[in-house]
Structures are given as C-alpha cells and as structure tokens.
Symmetry: none
DNA sequence: AATGAATGAGGGTTCATTCAT
DNA sequence: GATGAATGAACCCTCATTCAT
C-alpha cells in the first residue's frame, strides 16, 4: 500500500508536469488529481523539486539506459545511429512533454538537475561519437570531427518532434528512416559539386 | 534619456529571461538589476508579457528579416542554405540569450506569442523549402521531401549554440562550414553503401 | 476549530468593511486584525469580493427573511409597517456596521452585488407596498401611490441609525414608535390646512 | 489663463469623481481627460484629497448656502420645509453622483471631510428644526421632537434620488410635492385610528 | 501514513506623488 | 505654469511548505 500512493502521486505528477510544465503545475493540483492530501505528497517526497527529479530519474532511466546499451562493438556504426534515432523517437512519442523537459535546457530547475541532464547528454554524445569514429576508421564514413557530428545528429533527430507545430510526417519507422537518410547522405547525396 | 531607460530595461530583461526563463524572472529582479523602480517598468511596458513580446519583436525582427531576404532566385540553392546557417549563427552569437528564447518553444507564454513564433518559423521553413526544391529540380540535390529537409536543416543549425554545455567549435565561418558540410553530404558523403 | 477561523475572519472583516469601506479595507489589514495569515483568508474565501459577499449573504439573510415573512394577510397593514420598522431597527442595532453596508449603495462592488441588493430591496418594497395598498383599499390609509410611499417609509426608517453622527434617541421600542408615528401622521397630523 | 486650467481640472474631476467615486478615479485619468499633464494637477492642488475637497466645498457651497438662507422668520414653517425639499431635489438632479457623496457618509475620505460634512449636516438639521418648532408653537404642527423630525424629513427627502435603482417618479415639482405631502400628513392623513 | 488548515514570502500590478526640465 | 518619466509603497492573490491531529 505504501508504494501504491507513491506511484499514484508520481504518475499523476508526470502527466501534469508534462502538460503544463514544472512551474505551472502546483502541488495542490497534483494532490487534487491524485486524490491524496497535500501533506501526503510531502510525506513521500522532500519537495516539489524532489518529486520532479524522482520522475525524471525514473522515466529517463529506461531511455538513457537504452542509449548506453548501444555502446557495443557488435553493432555496426550505422546500426548504432539508426537505433539511437529510433529510440529517441519512440521515447518522444511515449513521453511527449516529458521529453521536451529532458531535451531542452530551458526548464532548468536548479543546478542538480542541470548537471544530471548534462551528464546524460554527454554520455549520449559519447556513444554516438564512438560509433562515428569506428565508421570513419573503417572507411565507412568520411573524415569529420566525430564529436561535433554527434551533436548534429542529435539535433537533427529533434526534427521528429514538434517544433513550433511543424514536425516530420509518417509513423515511427518512416520518420526514423528519413532522419537516418538525411544524416547519412545529406542533401546532395553522392552528388559532389563543391560550392 | 527617454529611450535610454527603455533600452536599459529591455537589455536587462533579455539577459534575465534567457538565464532563468520567463516564469522565474520577476519584475522586481529586472527592476533591481536595471537599477530602476518597479513602476518604471510599467511606465514603459504594459505588463510583463508586453515587455517580453517587445523584446522578441524588436530584437527578432532583424534576424527574421534577413532570412526572408534570402528568398531570391539570384542566389543558388546552396547559397541560400549557406547564408541561412551563417545568419542564424551570427544572430546566436550576438544575441546568445535571446536566441535561446526564440529557438525553444518551451517557454510558450501565451497564444499570441505562440502564433507569432509559429508564423516566423513557417516563413523560415518556406524560404529553405523553396531553395531546396529549386536544387532538386535542377538535379543539384537528390530527390527528397523539401519541407522536411528544411526542418532538419534548421535543427542541425541549432548545433551551433549551446546544447547542455556542448556546441560546435571554431569561429562563425568555421562553424557555418561544418554545418553546411554536414547538411550537404551527411556522414557518408559520396560513399553510398545501403544499410 | 475549523469554523472558528472562518467566523473570526468574517467578523473582523465586517467591522473593517463597515469602518473604512470595501476599497479601503485591505486583506492584509483584515488578516492582521483577525490575527491570521493572509493566506488563511484565501483558504476560506475565494477572493476579497467573495469574503464580502459571504458576509452580506450570511448576515443579511435573517434580516431579509424576516421582512419577507411580513407578507401575510393576517397582519393588519399598520402592523406590517410597524414590524418592518422594528425589524430593521433591531437589525441595525445588532449589526450596526453591516447595516451601513447593506443600506448604502455607494460601495457597490460589482454587478453581482448590485443585483443581489436591488433584488432584496425590491422585495422589501413589495412587502410594504402590498400592505399599504391593503390599507388604502380598506380606507384605513389615504389615497397615495403605494410604491413610492413604501420607498419613503424605508428611508424614514433609516433615521434610526447614524446619519453623520445624528440619530434618533431612545431604546428600540421608542425609536420604532417615533418613526411609525411620523410615517402614520406626518408633521401636521390631523391638522389639514393646505399650503 | 491661470484660472482656466484650474477650472478645467475641477470640472473634469467632478465628472469623473461623480461617475466612478473617489477611490476609483485616478489622477492619471483626470489628467488625461482634462488634457493636462499629471504634474499640472499637482501644481494647482496639493493632493488628490485637496482636489476633492476643493470641489466639494465649491459645489456644495451653493447648496448649503441656499438651505441656510431658509432660516428666516418671514417664511412659514411649511414653506421652509417645502423649499428645503425642493432645493435638495434640484441639487441632486444637477449633481447626481456628487450628491451621493455629500449625502452618504460612506465615502468618508478623512477626518477633515467627515467633520465638514457633519457640520453642514448639523446646520441643515438646525434650520429644519427651528422651522418645525415654530410650527409646533403656532399650533400648525402637532407636538413632536423637532430635532428628530428634522432628521426624518431629511431621510424622506432622499427618496427622491436613486436608492438601488428605485426612486420617485415625476418632475422635480411633482416629486417635491409628493415628499412634502408624505411628511405633512403621513400615511393615514387625518384618519386617526390608534394602532 | 495521511490529512488539510494555516502560513508568509513573493508574485504582478496600480497609482498618488515628486522633480528635473 | 506645465510636463511626464520615475518612484515605491501598497494592493490582491498564489503556492510551496509545515504541523497538529
């Protein structure tokens, strides 16, 4: 029963945080919606921030774990990139607003959160970076700064989710392919005519 | 002197809004930091929202105008894309904090703001889209959905600015070239070996 | 204990509203005087207006109910008028400050309040009007516009309470009789010598 | 020219004060409406209160002077009362909202204003009182406490102006007569049948 | 474990007043 | 005489947090 209340609060909170953001979601609203007393939330969590972090950590864990698991040499570099895009799109699809919080650095709550997010971000970059480097070493990819390419891949992938009411069309598979294709061959594709 | 105070307030505000977001930046804080009375802000602006919009409109105008001017046929498609990237990077460099506000859609304040930003975003997409289509028609670019490619270009360009304390290295010229290169040729470049 | 706080706030508020009016009575002042936190007032009432209305509705109900109960044919017209005066004087005596709020229409807060007060006022007028008409029909009273006479009776009755530090003397019984006498016979009494 | 600005301000102010009351009329609004700078008002008047008092004193003077002039023995007691009612109704008609301020003691601004109003009120009562006493002495009026009757006359006269959207009908002459008649003969008129 | 009444710091905003020009 | 930009105290209200029960 103990865990039930805690879970109930977290699930209600994640929905509300995702819908209206951290600042605009009050403890009262969460308590109301979760059908518990306000004091109950403070029995289970130290503060509003603590509640938020607990959610982020729990919900984000699966996502980040999946990314970290791509850091294996039995996957081809292209496969790593493809799976990265796919995983992110799926996560965004399932946790729409929460994803925005994890992806953007605007809703910075405090230093602890910022540092946690930066760490996760660096880890994601590192996974991609390694795969890219492997691809370059094998001659599969062209010479380029792997770290920065990783960053551009991550940003391109964001095209999958709403960006001022504009986003990629199609189901997850299609969207993944589109982004992967863009990342792999760019606009010109094989057509190299130097600017 | 009249305009000095207004400018002072706007510059202080843009810094604080960018640092801590709209919600977490109080009028008191802005007034303190700008070394004016709280009432002074309300002499120059109708409300906190009005202050925010005034900043967005005034500072963002030059940036968006420059993008719209790229919509000319005497520029090659590649040139349009290159100039787009360059313009955005320069804007980000000069208005670092403001750029974060303009780029992120997390701090959506209200419908008016949302609609303004969406309109500007659609216009930017349209400019790129046209250029891409021209490139495809001329055989310069490979066949692809121009609208969605435009979106991915925009997102890739965001790699130029801080993304959880990680960004592209080099001066503006270098960074522009890196992004342009990525967009043009992708990771594989001419090396096409289908996944 | 729950109701104690609410009552405490209402009683403090009615005193202050009556002393200094709605506009000039701040929530802070009420909270201070009632020895509760400002937030406590907002726990019990939605807004300053809600507090005001709650007082009016709760405290005024008994008074208006008593008036409406005079609308019975087993009471002689004179008796209705006498009881009306008596009821109002008693109410004023027991709710001195509140009475000032109910009687004056200067502190009109908003449409809802205005309409509520007008409705109650019309009902009071109607009760008196019916009684007057009955008295005229029976030949007890002289021919006269019953509606307007009702209005004058109401205003005369206001003489019982402070009017720029001047009011009728005596206990409630005496004051009721004085006003009743004035209303019945006027200044000249039976002495009719046309002006 | 000096007096022109001052007059302009006062006339604009009296209109606005009358329309929206003292509290709800801001100096800005008056300045705007009068088409002068805010500072100009403060050059002509010490404060918002001073502006208000200046209006009250000036506009109220004519009214109160007229009442005081009724304190002459060449007027019959009835004539005094009749003229009192008539004067008040005319004043109310010409200065509708301002009249409410003068008549009600709810919009008490401060001690000075309160005392001024009470003094004027006492003087008005005194004029009526003397006339009543003369009428009683001459056998014209029946025996009664002249001071308190004066108060009731004043209150009855208030029936002429809006009282929660209910007031006497007819032109000034008619309304004066109705009130005079009520005051003189009451409801029963000559018909004395003791309750 | 759970509750909800109570709190007060801080939010955005208004406005009478001042003063350099 | 006249102006209006600047001020800051005070306004109503919100909400994260506490604590007696």
């Amino acid at each position: 029963m103990k865990e039930d209340t805690r879970k109930n609060i977290m699930e209600t909170a994640v929905k509300l945080f995702a819908e209206t953001g951290f600042k605009d979601t009050s403890i009262s609203k969460i308590a109301n919606q979760a059908d518990v007393g306000k004091g109950t939330i403070y029995w289970h969590f130290d503060s509003k921030e603590d509640l938020f972090f607990s959610i982020i950590k729990e919900k984000g864990k699966a996502y980040f774990d999946k990314i970290l698991q791509l850091d294996r040499s039995d996957l081809s570099p292209q496969e790593v990139i493809y799976q990265y895009i796919k995983g992110r799109i799926e996560f965004i699809d399932n946790n729409h607003k929460l994803a925005e919080m994890l992806i953007s650095n605007n809703d910075v709550i405090n230093r602890e959160f910022k540092e946690l997010m930066e760490k996760k971000h660096r880890q994601s970059v590192a996974v991609l970076e390694k795969a890219i480097q492997r691809g370059i070493d094998s001659g599969e990819f062209r010479e380029s700064p792997s770290n920065e390419i990783a960053l551009m891949i991550i940003n391109s992938t964001n095209s999958a989710h709403n960006n001022f009411s504009c986003s990629l069309k199609g189901d997850n598979e299609e969207r993944t392919k589109k982004i992967f294709d863009f990342i792999m061959y760019g606009l010109a594709g094989g057509k190299r005519n130097e600017k």
